[in-house]
């Protein structure tokens, strides 16, 4: 058994043995679990894909004269101003002012919060338009200026929900095309979409949250950040396989990091026709190999991870809970699967190639001694389910 302190000491002396969650599979097979657990210090996991529940706090500093911002738009995308005089929160899925949305279905959603966040990280110059009602101490009532991330005091990404442990596979059993956050689903089950890095994905390598918890260091788009809380909709009570790996969404993580340290390659605005805008992020999470049991978890393969196929024409919108079938990521990655006796073309919203890149980048940073692990100070809730929103007819 190793401790966090011992692993960090090895990282600092640049002697840590670090493998990606893909490399560790063959490594353990060759060396045997016990021997490998003595050698390997860290396994890096990663994912890259749309992470809707994301956004950032920005502090603009104070203008002369001062303004107490009540409403603000960055490149015509509204940032929430009900935080403080010069602080706003910009959400990834916020549409641009006057976007016709789905008025002309399917809406194109060419620009929005996720794109503004991408431009900020890329160092581009953006327009700020802010209004206020004016007070004695903050007399200015309107301003328009241009800024880059360098002009801001702080740009802190604070994401309520990232890194879904596993995710639905969306299919369309109806006779009309659907436009969803999992892409365009053609009628009659012509195609389906999954969204997970599978064997590389952080929480699939730590299915019962034995190392990833509140306070864990993460690599968020190139910046060193951490898990600030359980992610929203966190539901550790989920249907799980014999390896404890969930077959539905299950766990999520709330992540934060300094946007000024992020790399634009891993922060990308996305447009989903007929649905809206969002943000795709690259996240890497190191798993300390405290013992053979933790190592065993990281050797999970795509063939041992199953996702639930859900009909997005009726079962998903109406929350019926019906699952058409379950498919492993190994099957999904073949590009064609059979669902209810029909051949279906497979698409993905999550990028395995980028996840691999992130896992490798994090591995190299740890090997160089540039990224230390941190022991979580609180575990994620072990038995929690997701509550539905009840539509009540009366207050009492």
């Amino acid at each position: 058994m190793k401790s966090y302190e011992e692993i960090n000491a090895k990282i600092e002396s640049k002697k840590a043995v670090v493998l990606t969650a893909e490399e560790v599979i063959d490594y353990v097979e060759k060396k045997g679990l016990e021997a490998a657990a003595k050698e390997v210090d860290v396994v890096t996991t990663a994912t890259f894909g749309p992470m809707c529940s994301s956004g950032c706090f920005l502090n603009f500093g104070h203008s002369k004269p001062r303004i107490r911002i009540t409403q603000a738009w960055i490149d015509d995308v509204e940032a929430y101003g009900g935080v403080a005089a010069a602080d706003v929160y910009l959400g990834a899925t916020q549409l641009r002012r006057n976007d016709p949305a789905n008025l002309y279905y399917p809406g194109e959603f060419r620009y929005g919060g996720g794109y503004v966040i991408e431009k900020l990280v890329a160092g581009e110059r953006l327009e700020l338009h802010a209004v206020s009602y004016g007070t004695d101490d903050y007399p200015l009532r309107e301003l328009r200026t241009w800024f880059t991330i360098k002009d801001l005091n702080q740009a802190i990404m604070v994401n309520p929900r990232n890194c879904y442990q596993n995710y639905n596979v969306a299919i369309n059993c109806s006779d009309r095309t659907l436009h969803t956050y999992l892409g365009v689903l053609r009628p009659g089950m012509q195609n389906l979409t999954y969204s997970s890095a599978g064997q590389l994905s952080p929480l699939l390598n730590d299915p019962l949250y034995e190392t990833i918890g509140v306070g864990t260091s993460v690599w968020l788009a190139g910046a060193r950040g951490h898990v600030h809380s359980e992610g929203t909709q966190f539901a550790s009570i989920a249907e799980r396989g014999p390896n404890d790996v969930p077959m539905e969404g299950a766990g999520t993580l709330g992540l934060t990091a300094n946007m000024k340290e992020m790399k634009p390659r891993y922060v990308r605005g996305i447009s989903l026709i007929g649905y809206g805008v969002s943000l795709a992020l690259g996240v890497g999470i190191p798993i300390p190999i405290l013992g053979p049991h933790i190592l065993k978890r990281t050797t999970v393969r795509d063939s041992e991870i199953f996702a639930s196929v859900i009909d997005y024409s009726s079962d998903y919108p109406n929350r019926t809970g019906k699952v058409l079938c379950r498919l492993s990521y190994e099957e999904l990655r073949k590009g064609e699967v059979v669902v209810s006796g029909k051949k279906v073309q497979v698409g993905s919203m999550s990028s395995y190639a980028m996840a691999l890149e992130v896992a490798s980048a994090l591995r190299d940073e740890i090997k160089r001694g540039d990224f230390l692990l941190s022991k979580p100070y609180k575990r994620l809730p072990p038995s929690q389910s997701q509550k539905p929103l009840v539509i009540r007819e009366k207050r009492k």
Binding site: P50, T193, A280, M349, S351, Y352
Partner: protein, 136 residues
């Protein structure tokens, strides 16, 4: 017999002549048009595969050029931006000819093969990252 992908750009005035007819009839070429916009008094384009003997293709294109039509022999009307592509694979089920496909099954990197593209433009509509675009 060979097949070449061509992109013909028409100037504003040269749209009344039955150029494709002559390519078939006089130069014995098989024409497969993927995309075309040829409107009188407007700049137009034609993206097509031309099949025939190398000599006939060359003579055919020389004939086309006499109408002031620009011939781009590496012409593809769809551009794929390798920097914007994140290799997520959401395009894969929508590309009918697999011009967009996984290059390496291990790393799952996606590549674009212009010679297989029939310019249906589905990728432009469906790519969340805006990696694909049309030249016109």
């Amino acid at each position: 017999m060979s097949t070449k992908r061509m992109m013909l750009s028409f100037p504003k005035s040269e749209t009344e002549k039955p150029i494709v007819y002559h390519l078939v009839k006089d130069y014995d070429l098989v024409i497969n048009i993927f995309r075309a916009k040829v409107t009188p008094e407007e700049y137009g384009y034609l993206v097509l595969d031309v099949s025939g003997s190398d000599d006939n293709i060359k003579r055919g294109m020389d004939f086309v050029r006499t109408f002031n039509v620009e011939v781009d022999e590496a012409g593809v009307g769809v551009a794929w931006d390798a920097q914007r592509c994140t290799h997520c694979g959401s395009c894969l089920p929508h590309c009918p000819t697999k011009a967009l496909r996984i290059v390496d099954p291990k790393t799952r990197v996606v590549g674009f093969f212009p010679s297989d593209c029939v310019e249906c433009l589905a990728c432009i509509t469906y790519c969340p990252f805006g990696a694909c675009s049309s030249l016109f």
